[in-house]
Symmetry: C2
Subunit: 126 residues, 2 copies
């Protein structure tokens, strides 16, 4: 009845390593038209953090445009593909964020779910 | 039965004039924890454009951090407070955007609705 995160997430999210620069993160956001980029490490894309256009904007307001590692959020709120979407939606709204990386049991990034995925579900309603 | 935009929108959105700087827009996003700022003109906040953290990030990737007017999107997709939320949700998702200014019949900004407002509605479901 209620869809799972894995049913509505983006299965091929853009990612970046923490050694990258903020300008490189900004370029990836520009090219993909996305606001949220999981920061990963290694061949299996282990989740290390998240950098968003809001973080880039914050760095601009503080004049601190340097490394992804310094600008990213380290304590990431994430979810699993087999969680129900209403559980994921409450996690987003109670944290005041608009996206969550989706990870497997080893903490490797397998997707990204955003509040835009939720408004898409609403637009299907009559 | 179906809620209206006016029931779920933010009734006191942060706004900026197009004569402001991108750094000032970035500061407002930082202080309000928001990604989207309607650009307005005059005492009644007439809608002139929209600037988002994505636009700030784009300006960073292109090295063009100058005025709000140069970085903002001029052709704004907006809605009215008395529209149904499913209509608003389809407008958001078909445009690939995550927020819309809400305007009165004269084009003055009276609110802002974001995809986060939609995921909040989902989280109330059982
Ligand atoms: C508080 S939100 C405010 C803007 C807007 N609500 C949004 O999420 O884009 C922005 C901050 O939340 C952080 N953030 C976004 N998604 C996150 C997630 N899944 N886990 C932890 N922090 C996250 C960003 O790194 C950024 O520092
Ligand atoms: C294409 S979206 C991509 C990022 C993400 N989907 C979002 O909306 O934040 C970013 C661009 O859409 C524009 N935009 C956002 N909301 C808009 C609206 N209501 N009307 C017109 N353009 C808008 C921004 O100014 C920015 O240039």
């Amino acid at each position: 009845k209620i869809p799972l995160v894995g049913d509505i997430m983006d299965k091929f999210p853009i990612t970046i390593e923490k050694t990258g620069s903020v300008v490189e993160a900004a370029r990836k956001m520009r090219e993909s038209s996305k606001n949220h980029i999981p920061v990963v490490f290694g061949p299996k894309n282990h989740l290390e953090g998240i950098i968003t256009s809001w973080d880039v904007s914050k760095a601009v307001s503080e004049g601190t445009l340097n490394s992804v590692e310094k600008c990213m959020t380290k304590k990431v709120i994430y979810c699993y593909p087999d969680e129900k979407i209403d559980v994921a939606a409450s996690r987003l709204s109670s944290a005041g964020i608009s996206a969550m990386p989706v990870v497997d049991s080893e903490g490797n990034v397998v997707g990204l779910i955003t509040s835009e995925d939720f408004s898409k579900l609403f637009s299907g309603r009559k």
